[in-house]
């Protein structure tokens, strides 16, 4: 067979979203790749400029639909810095709880989709089954299963229900057992190792040069985790380890993500204990009036007298399940952010696709791309 270009995407089982990976192949060997993005570009950064600060939160759930709360957290942190607001401590702990549960949910989703990519359907359903428990927890306090709209500038919308702590502990116990099952299905199978070892290798230097972050970077042996290195919320108050592996291949990414879920459970046990014993307000007291807590008096231009509030620029970086997400929010003293810029970790991870795909085989593309955990919603924004 001579060389040819094939389009993997935009509708292809491997893509996990809408994007197109153009692959030049010779027989089964990948010679070159060219990712094409933009099929899911919704202009979230532009729409944000027309929205009230709190209303942007509804868009954040839709940037990455499996890690909505992590993105809300990211945006809210940047907005709070831009608006000079400090949330109460309980709100910060609730946000941490949200983010860690979201990390578990997202990683389970990754596990389900990734193992499905290498042809094993069973873990997909196990993963979905267990992720449902996390979604149940989210539903119990946010009222929705995927699009939470829970965080607000200055805190969170509502407090956790009284039964939350008990139920969260039950879920954590259940998940701990299930993760063992996941490992048996994957690591215990030599076919899994045959498929995933020494595949999609991206060494630490290449990772850093191409801006690759998150589990991909940690799987290359770089111990970087914003929760440790640049603690936000109250991550300085909880005790956990950074999961690092040295293979830099697909198996290493699997190991890192699995270990991260175990560390998340460790964090969650601490935050849930804290939340049980420290009741308190979940919204900041002194907000700019037009932010008016979750209750926004008037959101649209024309009814709000233009007033000059303190200007500011906010920057936040959050260790999102997929990597380092960053937000840059410019506050020009109006009720809308002047400019919101998000940095999606997967955007950078996909931009290095040529580095970790070329030279492998067509059949290796799904596991490698699966190990990147692409979520196109946040790449295209």
């Amino acid at each position: 067979m001579s060389e040819m270009w094939i389009n993997m995407g935009p509708q292809h089982p491997m893509t996990h979203g809408l994007w197109n990976l153009r692959v030049r192949i010779d027989g089964e060997v990948v010679l070159d790749v060219d990712p094409e993005m933009g099929y899911l570009h919704r202009g979230i950064e532009k729409i944000s400029e027309d929205r009230h600060y709190n209303e942007v939160v509804t868009l954040m759930d839709r940037t990455c639909y499996v890690a909505g709360l992590a993105w809300e957290h990211l945006y809210i942190l940047a907005s709070e810095q831009a608006l000079h607001i400090t949330p109460p401590e309980r709100a910060q702990y609730i946000r941490m709880t949200c983010e860690e549960f979201q990390r578990i949910g997202s990683h389970i989703m990754w596990y389900a989709a990734f193992v499905n990519d290498i042809g094993l359907m069973t873990p997909f359903l196990y993963g979905m089954r267990d992720r449902d428990l996390v979604l149940d927890l989210f539903q119990s306090f946010t009222g929705a299963r995927m699009t939470y709209e829970y965080m607000r500038v200055g805190g969170v919308r509502n407090d956790l229900p009284p039964t939350f702590t008990d139920q969260a502990r039950k879920v954590l116990d259940w998940l701990t057992d299930r993760f063992r099952e996941y490992d048996q299905l994957c690591l215990g199978s030599s076919i899994f190792h045959k498929r995933c070892d020494h595949l999609g290798v991206l060494k630490a230097n290449d990772c850093i040069a191409h801006g690759v972050t998150g589990p991909m970077l940690r799987s290359a042996g770089v111990k970087r985790d914003l929760r440790k290195d640049r603690p936000y919320a109250r991550y300085d108050a909880v005790d956990f380890d950074v999961a690092v592996a040295d293979g830099a291949d697909v198996t290493a990414r699997y190991l890192v993500r699995m270990e991260e879920m175990r560390q998340s459970i460790r964090i969650l046990r601490q935050t849930v204990d804290w939340l049980e014993h420290h009741p308190g307000p979940v919204m900041a007291e002194h907000l700019p009036r037009w932010l008016g807590a979750p209750y926004a008096p008037v959101g649209r231009e024309g009814y709000l007298l233009k007033r000059n509030y303190a200007k500011g620029v906010g920057f936040s970086a959050v260790e999102e399940p997929h990597g380092e997400a960053q937000a840059y929010v410019v506050n020009e003293g109006t009720e809308h952010p002047y400019r919101v810029k998000f940095r999606s970790p997967i955007f950078a991870n996909l931009s290095a696709a040529r580095q970790y795909l070329v030279g492998y085989r067509v059949a290796d593309i799904p596991p490698i791309m699966g190990s990147v955990d692409p979520c196109i919603g946040e790449v295209d924004r």
């Binding site: 209303e55 089954r129 699009t147 039950k170 299905l185 190792h193 592996a245 209750y295």
Partner: protein, 259 residues
Amino acid sequence: MATEITATEKPNQNPILWVARPMATAARQFAKSLFRPSTIVYPYERLEDPEFREKVAVASGKPIGLGQVWDNYRGVHALNIATCISCNLCQFSCPDLCIEMVTVPGGDPKHPKKCPEIDYGKCSYCGFCSDACPEGCLTMTTRYELSVTKRSDMVYSPQRLNEVFKTKLPMNPIRLARPANEDSILLDVPLCIGCNACARDCPTQCITMLDIPKPEAKAGEKIPKRIWKEPVVNDSDCVRCGTCISVCPKECLFWGTRK
């Protein structure tokens, strides 16, 4: 430099056991799910049914559905037309512009009563409207089944939302506290002409027009031609909907902090 990752499963190098462990795991799960698979036979079994939740939780050993999972679910809205005051706050707070205020019977002929009509084709179920509703008459229920065959059926008129209210579905119990430092409606006194528009249209009737003394005409000074009344806003009743500001012909009302 790297923290050791404790892989629970070591790579299996024994070719005879190549496939044994995952197959054993799958078989274990098979034996478990023979009695009670985790799936729910959806139209017949519903998670929002608390009895069913407990039954499943006990039967499958899964910690599902325990606790108040469905208590504050954000589904289709319920509108109590009787208590709606037509303040438009739901419309203002909607980020998706899916709420339109439409006239419903039962209002005063001069000032027809307007209630929200929601287009579920646009709605994102963010709950800002029910958060903003000062009277608690627009809430969200646990209903989530919306399939229709015509796009126009996605638009729920106030009457239809009222039907939802009458079904007594569990409704979102969370009422957000009004912030302590809300803005008030302030009056730019020299601009006011006392036209009564604000008091007339105020949905909560919290504006009263008080008489003010007509100043004595001084020499060479023209007394402005106006009605000698001035609105006074009762802050505790005011829901901060801004209707008065929008109807004021002279733009003399504005948001501000009351001294």
